[in-house]
Every structure is written in C-alpha cells, then in structure tokens.
C-alpha cells in the first residue's frame, strides 16, 4: 500500500458560531505510523476527530481515501471505511458480555436467529489471545465488572476486529495507571507493526515523544507544525502549542503572599476525604489531578454546595457555616465552576442580570432591582475585562466561551471577594481570552485576593501557582511548592495507585 492510497485530510475547515474550530487543515495519514496530535484545549483536535468519525461534516475541504473524496453521513460510514475513534469514555454496554461487546453488530448466528455462543466464544478467545488479554477477561464476563483500562481494550479489540485501519486514541491514558498505560503502548506499537495507522491525542508530552513517529501541532484551529517526532522535546512542542514562550503567557508580577486567609481542616464530603489546605492573601494555590480526582468536588465542598460530613472551614479565622453557599459568599468566597453553562450562568438572561446576581444589596433600592445602580457596578467591570458584546443586555447564551467566563468573573468581582476559586477557568476558551484571564489572575493575586486555581492544564498550574496540591481519589496526595512544580512530579502523584495514606503529605 503506497502512501497516496491511504486516508488524508485536504484543506478541512469548520466553524461553530464565531469560533473557527478548524482552518484549512491538511494531513496525510500513513499506514504503520503513530501520528501524535497535540494542541491546547480548543485547538481543534476533537473537531477533527468528529469530522473523521463522520459525526458532522467539514464546512469546506475533503476527507480522502487515496484520490477519492469520501463523505461520511454518519459514524457508521466511517466505521465501514475503516476509521475508528477510541474515546476517553469507552462506549461499551455494561450489561452485555465481553464477547458480545467485541462482536457487536457481527454476532455469529445459529439458523439465522439464535446467537451461536460456542462460535462467539471461540472467536473471542482468539481475539483475546492476539492481544494477550486472556488473563484479564473472560468472554462471558459482563463488561460492567471491568475497569476503565479493560473497557478501553475492548473498544480497541472491537475496532481492530471490525477491520479498523485508521485508529484514533483520544487521550487514552487520562484514566489509566502507569502500568495500564505501558500495556496500551505495547498494543499500539504492535498495531503499528501490523500496518495500522494510529492517531494519538494526549496532553502528556513525554508519552508522545516516547510513542510517536510524527507530531502534528494544532493551534486555534490551524495546523502549525507537522514534523517527525525524532528530535522533538517537550519544550519545543509546548512552545508550538501555545505559539509563544510559555513564560510570556503567564505573568506573575509578585510572588509575595500575605497573612492566612482560608484554613480548611479535615474536610470530608461524600466525594472528598480528609482534605486540609491553607491559602494566604495574594497567593495562587493550584490544584492538580486527573479527571475524577475530586478537584471540582473539593471546590463544591469549600463553597458549601456539597454536604459537609466532617471538617472545618475558616476564613480569616472565622468558621464558615457548613452546607450553605450563601454563608461562603458572605464569608468572602467566590466560585467560578468548571461547567459554566450548567453551574454558573443563567444562559437566557442578560450579561447585566448574570453579573449582578450575587450583589442584590448593591443593585437594589428598597428590595427592588435598580438598573442604574446595577449598570454603575457592572459597566466598569465589563470594560475592565473587555467583554465583547453589543451591550450589557445581550443574552449570555450568545457570547463566546471566553466572554461567558468573563461574565462569571465579573459577577464575583462585583462582590469583591477575598478568596476566588476558579475551576478550569480557561477550558474551551481561545488563546487570547486565556491570556487575559491569566493576567486577571495575576492582578487579583497582586491586589491581595487569595486564589484557588483548579486546572488540568499543566502549563497553567506551573506558570501561575505559588503552590500546587495534587489530588487523587478525593484526597490530597502531594503538596508541591515553587520551584519544584513540574509536570512529571504532578503526574506521579496524580495517579490513583500512587496515592499515599492520608496525612502522609509530601512537603
């Protein structure tokens, strides 16, 4: 099979509203090659996967197989063509067996109607043997009993069994342990040897350097680099991803912090265990961890949204009542949740209404809303953060992600909080707005506000935080202080298995 016979993307563009998700991207995939696709959140990786998978089509450009343009009406078409995307959350049916999940859609039949169990088991045994998975699962085992790594393997086996020739992995290791990840890598290497083309998406640059033959970098929907992996370093890739030196993106004017502000001791909820932490005035405390490590849940525990089972929270030495977001707000805590659309914004109301939501006393007269007062408070904040909208009566649902986030931040700045908890504040935001939010974080910290920054983006934590707490399984597994904060150390402590006993903090 020559190179030109294989799949390629030719000038693909895709636009969502005001966001140009992909802009004239061309990539030729090659059989027997691992192509790493890197880029920040929102760079266009997921959009590209969805186009390859046929979830939606491009606005312009074509997906080709050899010289023939191919159009996918739905995922089934792309599957038939041999393209498979392995998602972070494997799509398996928990109530069916391993065998049925692997052979779904092509189950062997007896007399046309009955399931031929014996044949199915034989076939499954053969597939499991090929992947060296006989020890890990039995054909008749229900998939609901499997762990995330095994589920992922099932999806991979299903893809290969169904004749997948181009297999894309979308952040496959985010929920895997080190050992499971290593086994996945050996499977990927074997697939490569057998001539399968692999697309590998990951934020972990060390993995990529280890595994990939070629690295494609996307930034703001554009392809900015497509070069062999040999000779690439984490620094060079990161620089390509953000488009400038990472150090320039993160400005922290001051690294001084003042007196004790927040004191959390032994905080426990249904999803967070025995968390103790302190934040000083003017300090940025980063919180790192993998998906499901309990970071957002920690934030929800601190602001009194989740029911507190044990522990104390104090602001400036004064205890904060449990289970009351109102008490937390009164104590001076502001919280911008990760899920802006569902947890932070009233989407169908105006910028003004959303920004004034937490300052009823300052925007009312005799219990009635006073528009003039509200404008006096919100307008300067909107201008300061350069919220892009025709006016403050614009419905929030019509704004871009970055501007929506700014509205949430304006809401809290209107309250002049002492502590601000930001959960993934730059998720799904373009690089320009990101830089603005980073600058704002720096400004706020410099003005004496304590900040808890929850983030999955390592450069963000490393660039902005004074200290980083690493979480796994609802507990804090490590505390790293500048300048010992680096990606490898954070990841080491973020892996669920490496979680030490509670109280065993690493200073």
């Amino acid at each position: 099979m020559t190179q030109s016979d294989f799949f390629s993307l030719d000038g693909i563009s895709k636009r969502f509203g005001i966001v140009q998700a992909l802009d004239n991207v061309s990539i030729a995939f090659r059989p027997g090659e691992v192509l790493a696709l890197v880029g920040e959140n929102g760079a266009g990786k997921s959009t590209m996967m969805r186009i390859l998978e046929g979830v939606f089509g491009p606005d312009s450009g074509t997906v080709r197989h050899g010289a023939t343009p191919i159009v996918f009406g739905e995922p089934r078409d792309s599957h038939r063509a041999g393209i498979r995307v392995i998602h972070q959350e494997p799509e398996i049916v928990p109530n069916l067996t391993v065998a049925e999940n692997i052979f779904v859609g092509e189950l062997p039949r007896l007399a046309g109607v009955l399931l031929d169990w014996r044949k199915l088991e034989e076939q499954t045994d053969r597939v499991l043997a090929t992947f060296g998975m006989q020890q890990d699962m039995r054909p008749r085992q229900l998939c609901g009993t499997l762990g995330p790594a095994q589920r992922q393997m099932i999806e991979i086996m299903r893809a290969i069994r169904a004749g997948g020739r181009l297999i894309a992995f979308d952040e496959p290791t985010s929920s895997l342990t080190d050992d499971e990840a290593r086994r996945l890598f050996s499977v990927i290497r074997r697939l490569r040897e057998e001539g399968t083309s692999i697309i590998y998406i990951s934020h972990r640059l060390n993995e990529i350097i280890d595994l990939a033959d070629r690295i494609v970098v996307l930034r703001d929907g554009r392809l900015v680099d497509d070069s062999p992996a040999a000779g690439a370093s984490e620094q060079t890739i990161a620089k390509l991803m953000v488009g400038r030196n990472i150090d320039d993106l993160f400005t922290r004017e001051t690294w001084r912090s003042g007196e004790q502000l927040l004191d959390v001791a032994g905080l426990t909820t249904d999803r967070v265990s025995d968390v103790s932490l302190r934040v000083r005035r003017g300090e940025v405390l980063g919180i790192a961890g993998l998906m499901g490590a309990g970071r957002s849940e920690l934030a929800k525990a601190i602001v009194g949204y989740d029911r507190r089972i044990a522990g104390t929270i104090a602001m400036n030495g004064v205890p904060v009542l449990p289970n009351s977001p109102h008490a937390a707000i009164v104590a001076g805590i502001g919280f911008a949740p990760e899920d802006r659309k569902h947890e932070a914004l009233l989407l169908f109301r105006s910028i003004l209404d959303n920004a004034a939501l937490c300052v009823p006393d300052k925007t009312s007269s005799f219990g009635f809303f006073n528009r003039r007062k509200a404008l006096e408070i919100v307008s300067p904040l909107a201008a300061k953060m350069s919220i892009k909208a025709p006016n403050l009566d614009e419905q929030v649902s019509k704004l871009s992600g970055g501007n929506q986030q700014k509205v949430v931040l304006a809401r809290w700045l209107a309250r002049q909080p002492m502590l601000l908890i930001l959960d993934e504040p730059t998720r799904g935001i373009d690089i320009g707005a990101k830089a603005e939010i980073y600058r704002l974080i720096d400004e706020l910290a410099a003005s004496g506000i304590g900040i808890i920054l929850i983030s999955s983006e390592m450069p963000e934590l490393i660039g902005l935080a004074d200290r980083v707490l690493v979480m796994a399984g609802g507990r804090i597994t490590a505390e790293l202080a500048r300048p010992d904060v680096d990606e490898a150390t954070i990841l080491k402590h973020a892996m669920p298995q490496s979680a030490p006993a509670p109280g065993d903090h690493i200073q």
Partner: protein, 333 residues
C-alpha cells in the same frame, strides 16, 4: 465590535419607530395573545354581539375572572420558580369553608378573612415542605394534597354548604366602588403587586434564577429550599384570598362547588401567558392576558349555548394547545 459599548438597549430602541418600541415593550408573545383575544371577541361578538358587548356582560366577564386572575398570577410565580401547584382549586374550596365557619362562629368578617388566609398559607406550607424536604415531584405532591384538602373541606363542612350572613363580608363580593365592582379593584391591586414583585423585586428576580437554573441559583447564595417553601406558602395564601373572594361572592362556604377545576384554568392561563413548565420564564402581564382569553371563552361559550360538557373539552384542549405552542417556541430558540 471591539470594545463594549456601555449604553443600554434603550438607546437603540429609541432610534427605531414607535411601533417597534411597542412590540419590544409588550413582547411578541403578548402581542399574539392580544391577537388571539381579539379573534375570540370578534367570533363571539359576531355570533351574539347584542349581549356580548353589553356593559353588564363585560362586567360579568370581569367578575368571572377575578378569582381565576389571582390564582393564575400566583401559579405563574410557582411555575417561574420551576414548580407547579395543582392543589390550588382544593385549597380554595377548603378556605371558603374555613372562612364561612369562622364568620358563623364569631360573626366577624375579619376573623373569616384571617381564617381563610391562614389556612391557605398552612396548606401551601404543607405542599412546600413535602416538595422541598420530602423531595416529592411537585405534580404528585400537590395531586395528593389536592385530595387531602378536599377531604378536610368535606370533613369540616360535613359536605354541606355553609351560609354567610355578614353583609360587611358580602360587600367584598358584591359591592362597588367608583362604579366598578370591588372584586375588580382587588384584581387590579393584586395584579400590580404581583407584577412589581415578580418583575422588579430582588426576590422576584431570584425566583427567575431559581427556576431557570437551580444549581446556578444555589451557587449564587440563594437559599433555594427557603424560596421553594416560601413560594408554595405564597400560592396557598393567594388561594386563601381567592377562597375569601369566592365565599364573599356566593355568600357561602362550599367544599367543591365554585372551586372545582380552578387549577386547570389557572395553569392554562399561566402557560398561555408564556410560562415555560421547565421554569424560569413567564410574566404576570402574560398570565392576565391568558386569564382574559379564558374569561372571554367561558363567557362566549355560555352566550352561544355550548353545553357544559363540551366546555370542558374546550378548556382541556386549550391547556394542551398552549403547552404545545410553548414547547414549539422553546425548541426553536
């Protein structure tokens, strides 16, 4: 648009024509309600114009919708908050009985009014607690209490109508001030109060936030449990007021007669008026237009001698039609 222009949209609308301003102020939805109302008036006017347009009949319509008006407005608040109260009709029945009994026992109209409002508030408190702390779906909870409240009304009255002999109290139902029935004045005053409360007060705005997205509301420091209970208490007190008005108009307290089916009409009016059953959307002005449509429809069907049984068909269909239209609009935007 590189920088934010800090002017309000008012400045923009000023540039447009007066008609555009009217549209903006009333809202597209309310204008379509006015059109629907006009169509109904034209239909019944052309069929029975002689009677329909008489001042006596128009006053009848006004009187007829007073009680429904109060309930439609309180129902609007409940629906905007993301709830539903289908026990209001039963609560009205219960409060007419308690008001009549209190007046019979003490001879004091004031005692009757207090009894009606307090019992209505208690009924609402029960609903609020079951829904908020018992975590029961609002429809199921108030379906249950609907039967309970009717039962209590039957037990209290022994199934009988209880006559009210206080002329002072009856004045509320039949008296006139400045040529207009007192009932109509009460509707006007409660309408102004409800409108200011829901559209302008901080509590009202928080109710929109609560119904629009309870998670956001809670993160913003709104005590959503207290709000929910408070809203059902409000609904109960409003039902108590409606019960007082009904008792004053009929001169009696009755467990069922006069209050049956009020919940259907109140919810229909609220939804016609633009309430989204998911919460977060709806206005008092819209609800009043919905009430007017129902009032004209009821009156017109009587004038054109539509049999009672068929009137029920029309009312039920209207509710479903209103919801279908509302859902259609919701999915389009």
């Amino acid at each position: 648009m590189n920088s934010l222009e800090l002017r309000a949209s008012k400045a923009q609308t000023d540039a447009r024509g007066a008609s555009a301003r009217v549209v903006e102020r009333l809202g597209v939805h309310n204008i379509s309600l006015l059109v629907a109302l006009a169509i109904l008036i034209i239909i019944f006017g052309s069929l029975r114009g002689d009677v329909f347009f008489s001042s006596r009949n128009l006053l009848n319509i006004g009187l007829g919708v007073t009680i429904l008006g109060v309930l439609a407005m309180s129902q609007t608040v409940v629906i905007v908050a993301g709830g539903l109260d289908i026990a209001v009709g039963a609560t009205v029945g219960l409060t007419t009985v308690s008001t009549a009994m209190a007046i019979q026992a003490t001879g004091s109209p004031a005692a009757g009014i207090v009894a009606g409002l307090v019992l209505g508030g208690l009924a609402g408190l029960v609903n609020g607690i079951i829904i908020t702390y018992g975590r029961v779906n609002a429809v199921i909870a108030t379906l249950g209490t609907m039967a309970i409240f009717r039962g209590i009304a039957f037990i209290m009255s022994d199934g009988q109508s209880i006559a009210i002999f206080s002329d002072t109290f009856r004045f509320i139902g039949i008296g006139r001030i400045l040529g207009l029935p007192l009932l109509v004045w009460i509707l006007v005053l409660t309408a102004i109060a409800f409108h200011l409360f829901l559209a302008r007060s901080i509590v009202g705005r928080n109710i929109y936030a609560l119904g629009g997205n309870p998670v956001v509301a809670r993160f913003s420091g709104i005590n959503i449990n207290r709000y929910r209970v408070g809203i059902y208490i409000m609904s109960g007190v409003a039902a108590g007021l409606a019960g007082i008005l009904l008792a004053a108009r009929t001169g009696s307290g009755q467990p069922v007669s006069g209050s049956q089916g009020l919940e259907l009409e109140a919810i229909t009016a609220a939804v016609l008026g633009g309430c989204a059953l998911q919460g977060g959307k709806g206005t008092i002005v819209g609800a009043l237009l919905g009430v007017a449509i129902i009032g004209v429809l009821n009156n017109g069907m009587i004038l054109t001698s539509v049999p009672t049984f068929y009137q029920l068909l029309a009312k039920g269909s209207l509710l479903i039609l209103a919801v279908v239209i509302a859902e259609y609009h919701l999915n389009r935007t």
